[in-house]
Amino acid sequence: MSDISERVKKMVVEHLGANEDEVTEKAHLIDDLGADSLDTVELVMKIEEEFDMEIPEDAAEQIRTVGDAINYIKEKS
């Protein structure tokens, strides 16, 4: 399962241009990693593609930290 965590962190680094050591599970996408609302929309899309899943709008809105994204994927896969 750590594979999911690593893959998500890698995507966050890539799409938000964040430093690897800043991308912890606790890191808040907007407050800590400098994403804006459009970045988070895009990140969710990339996660959908990467993990071949569909994340409904209301679930996507609950993804606020790196850990939220990892936990959501773990629950659904």
């Binding site: 799409h15 241009g17 899309m45």
Partner: protein, 431 residues
């Protein structure tokens, strides 16, 4: 009356990134044209363009070639993903012009930032973004379309992005007037300063049309060159009897315009003064100019009237001259008519022979080349002009740059839809 001076220049063009390199290449008569290799154009009637040279080799550039563009130098990969290439080019040109001007109000200089605006033009806007978004929606459906599609393709987003980057909170909008947009942006921005809406304006134009849809659509309206796919550097040949349409270019040009006393008070270096601006509409045909050049004639006439000069004061014209069959001669005839006896020996050149046609960025790039002509008193050549298709009294400056001795110069830009703009510049007031 508030006077407007030019205090900063910036450009990214097929003849190089950065004003100094590009100007050197222009005076040497260097073509920026090449074969299109970064996208598949095997099925296109036109397979050549004038492209920005890049450090990775695209567009004929390379790490060791001066003026090659390094995309990582200004915008991060993440920032580039959020903006269309026309915005990226506009930002690169604006960055050079702003740095060159030395105008950098800090975060707490709120009034200074509120008195600084941005006005960029483009012909199309986010051509490549529109192309990719259509493919996505039609092939994959609407889900997962990038949320940056709209902010990336909007034509005014170059102005928006530049204002965000530098915190300039003054007037912010764009002009969309096809191949005259860069000139209209500079002319309008000068008027905003003259009228008191701003003290400083970053103005220019950007265009990034080299994609399959861009090439196909301009080939479809019979505007582009198709006969020189094996000799790209010969494809753009204004006034020459072998011309067969324009060569598509890409890039951006930017100027910092400033109210004269404002510039003097901070000891800014002055390149030139914006003296006149003229605009007109053809009301003739969607893509062709009036056969008698009436639209261009009236834009030039009102720019010169507006400047307070007489035609005989103008010693150089950077022509629109796109290398199309009809347009090139019509413009020269309009110049002859307007200048009368002063047309004899007047230096008129088309730098599009080297840069290709940067469409919505052309007017900005050519305004910069016109300003450099005044500064250095040397006019760029029209390359590839081996055998002119018509006789004229003006000097079309074939092949080689030539000295001029003049206080004033004009730049012409005309666009589809019958839109025309002319700008008149003079040497800097202190010079």
């Amino acid at each position: 009356m508030r006077r407007v001076v030019v205090t900063g220049l910036g450009l990214i063009s097929p003849v190089g990134c950065g004003v100094d390199t590009a100007w050197k290449n222009i005076l040497a008569g260097t073509s920026g044209a090449g074969r299109i290799e970064h996208i598949d154009v095997g099925d296109m009637a036109c397979r050549v363009a004038a492209m920005v040279p890049r450090v990775d080799g695209r567009g004929g550039g390379g790490v060791d070639i001066a003026g090659s563009y390094d995309p990582d130098a200004l915008l991060s990969k993440r920032e580039r993903k959020r903006v269309d290439e026309f915005i990226e080019y506009s930002a690169v040109a604006a960055n050079e012009a702003i740095a060159d001007s030395g105008w950098a109000p800090s975060g707490d200089e709120i009034e200074a930032r509120e008195r600084t605006g941005v006005l960029f033009g483009s012909g199309i806007g986010g051509f490549q973004t529109i192309h990719e978004a259509i493919l996505h929606v039609e092939q994959k459906g609407p889900r997962r379309l990038s949320p940056f599609t709209v902010p990336s393709m909007l034509l005014n987003m170059a102005s928006g992005y530049i204002s965000l980057r530098y915190g300039f909170k003054g007037p912010n909008y764009s002009v969309a007037s096809a191949c005259a947009a860069g000139a209209h942006a500079i002319g309008d921005a000068a008027r905003l300063i003259r009228h008191g809406d701003a003290d400083v304006m970053v103005a220019g134009g950007g265009e990034a049309p080299i994609c399959r849809m861009g090439i196909a659509s301009f080939v479809a309206c019979r505007a582009m060159t198709t006969a020189y796919n094996d000799m790209p550097e010969k494809a753009s040949r204004p006034y020459d009897s072998g011309r067969d349409g324009f060569l598509m270019g890409e890039g951006a040009g930017a100027v910092v315009l400033e109210e004269y006393e404002h510039a003097r008070a901070r000891g800014a270096k002055l390149y030139a003064e914006v003296m006149g601006y003229g605009l007109s509409g053809d009301a003739h045909h969607i893509t062709r100019p009036c056969p008698d050049g009436d639209g261009g004639y009236r834009a030039m006439r009102s720019a010169i009237d507006n400047s307070g000069f007489h035609p005989s004061d103008i010693g150089y014209i950077n022509a629109h001259g796109t290398s199309t069959q009809v347009g090139d001669e019509v413009e020269v005839r309009a110049i002859e008519r307007l200048f009368g006896e002063a047309a004899s020996g007047l230096c008129v050149s088309s730098t599009k022979s080297m840069t290709g046609h940067l469409m919505g960025a052309a007017g900005a790039l050519e305004a910069i080349l016109t300003i450099k002509t005044l500064q250095d008193q040397v006019a760029p050549p029209t390359i590839n002009l081996d055998s002119p298709s018509f006789d004229t009294l003006v000097d079309l400056a074939p092949h080689t740059a030539r000295p001029v001795s003049t206080r004033a110069a004009m730049s012409n830009s005309f666009g589809f839809g019958g839109t025309n703009a002319a700008l008149v510049f003079a040497t800097a007031p202190d010079a």
